[in-house]
Amino acid sequence: MLAEDIWRLDRPRILPARGVGNRDAERRGGEGRPHTIGPAALPLHQPAADPPPHSGEDPPIVFVEKLNNAMRVTALSRAAMALGLTPDLTLADARARIPELIAIDRDHGAEARLLARIVAGCVRYTPMVAAEPPDGLILDVTGCTHAFDGEAGLKADLLARLKNYGITIQSAYGDTPEQARALARFGKDGADVRTLPVEALEADPAVTLALRRAGLKTIEALDQRPRKMLAARFGDLAIRLARLLGEQDRHITPERPLPPIFALRRFAEPIGRVEDALACLEELAHETAQTLLERHEGGRRFIARLFRSDGAVAAIEVGTGQPTRDPALLIRLLRERVDALADPIDPGFGFDMIRLDVGGTEPLTARQDDHLAPSRHEEELAELVDRLSARLGARRIYRVQPENTHIPECAVTRCPSSRIATWESLPEGEPPMRPLRLFDPPQPVNAVMSEVPDGPPMRFTWRGRTYGIARWEGPERIAAEWWHRRDRGGRPRDYYRVEDADGHRFWLFRHGLHESGGAAPAWYIHGLFA
């Protein structure tokens, strides 16, 4: 996943969301001052479908979004910008100009995830990193620049690293986060903040317009007016101005990842019985449960590691369908898992350390029991699923969901047991149209007799037995999905529901059509009706 993401980022397609070049980043610096950096220009997306491999020239890509009932370009690649496309164009207009345009739906979730990854990566510079959604981040680099030979070195390092991933940023140092942000987005690093236009305050558009109408076009002009007047007329504008000018500071809220949850025990003397190790794991489970409780979280994945004194490590991993912090349940699952291990845990000379990690967590708040309906059906079912998953593996416990296709063997896929799909039912009074048992792949049947070549079967042989057909219905023609096939072809299937004299019901199909001169199409049995 990681490697793939990086690979995707690697390919240059960094797109500014607003027309002007790339976006910005902010930072601010100076000895002894708090420093902030904030790149804002994020790569906006990794498209799901990669364009054809690099052939010297990048294809023009635009990202589109539905705005006011029209598909509009909201971000575009450099190649697309070079062709004269601009944001806010409708997709139809853009297509009319550049027919070979690649348009991709904009995915804000993916952008947010990318930003979060960049934030996580910037922790190398300072622990105080905060995201400024949608496309910026602020770094407070106070006291951190010495490791990078000063502000310029830090900035160069950051730019080089992000450039490696194909991310273009604009960055600036500033005395306050707002100042850095304004310089990165509306000016350039090192410029005087007072020369910036009033837009740099990023106030309400109506306020900005009012200021412009009043002739206050730059921060400097605004700064010369009495602040009280501004506060009375425009509310928080005075605060914004003070922050921008570095007169007032707001501290950023850094993104700090929570430390991973684990518990461990070391033993002076190795313990030699798996049973004792499990008892120890139970204690550890209680410890992790306490931490999980404090965080209002439940674990979805638990990994118990038994470190043998000779260096071998046995890892037992269990997953749960719902977040949990119940030690008893966890121990039960671990026991199931240990019991089901094909190759049992060998304590050898004993374990000298046992560690329990919580691999994945999800929010889990305390819940009030419903005393009127004490049935805890859902939880019991989730527990049952967990127990079976621990023993058999999660992929063996599943539910099914319908797929949007006519091809019978593709019409169903497995889904996790937590998802309950809705199924359509037949209109009233119709007999079953689909078999209860399906053969995948279909099985060939021999000696099929029909009265006329394209007619229904009269008799067929399957698994060494011949069945005479008494009743039948059909054909139901299911065409191949030519739109998915490279050759745009595929033979249609003519399905017949047939019943023999004893009441056995079969689902047969003829694969293909009769063609003059060609061999007769083959018959297959695809399923059996109840």
Binding site: L381, R387, L436, H504, L528
Partner: protein
Amino acid sequence: MTCESPPLPAPQRSAGTKPKIAFTHTESIVPPSRFALGLEPLDTALGGGLARARLHEIWPVAVEDGPSATGFALMLALRASDEKGAIVWIGQEHGRAGALYPPGLADLGIDPGRILFVAAPDEKALLRAAGDVVRSPAAAAAVIAPAGSAPLLDLTASRRLTLFAERSGTTAILLRTTDPQTPSAATTRWRVAAAPARALEANAPGQTAFNLDLLRQRGGAPSHGWQVEWDRDRARFAPLSRAVAVDAGGGYLATG
């Protein structure tokens, strides 16, 4: 001589120390709740319907009747679960009978969304999974479908499943592929064959129909030769009537 001392109090245990495997069979003496199949004479023969929280065993007459037995087992599970609660299908991978096909289930009026599938790699795993499912009160009904003749599912295994079912309230249905020819602790044992369906217009195959033989029932008499039709829309069994005359030649002309 009279004994004046008060009777000894019954030995008391705190709830926590009560052993889980106590053969206290007194609780199961309470007659189980029953679910009707919807076909009145058959329900009368069964004494008001089939017992919930018990094991029922089903097998087909011949290999070709396998899907009919599958259908009957799932229909019983649907009736037993009373339109709510989960149905768990415990099957085995790589069976020769073909995979259960959810759209076919939907066409029988059994919502595939309610079914939780468990695919066991072999018979032993299937038996253990079946034990887990039947022991848990989570599922309303469980269909246990081994792929082969299932020699492990013997009298002892069926006894265990029955005990689990009695305690948890889950109705267990054991769907075999052949006649086991061994004794079993199942409350009822059924033999199922496909029956020619009531033909629809133009000689098309109609609603699902079965020939049922109730080979054994605990505390009741066996009865044979039931011809039933599955009423999909009302999710119940109905008598199979052959009122519609079949025009042998018409089918071909009408729909061909």
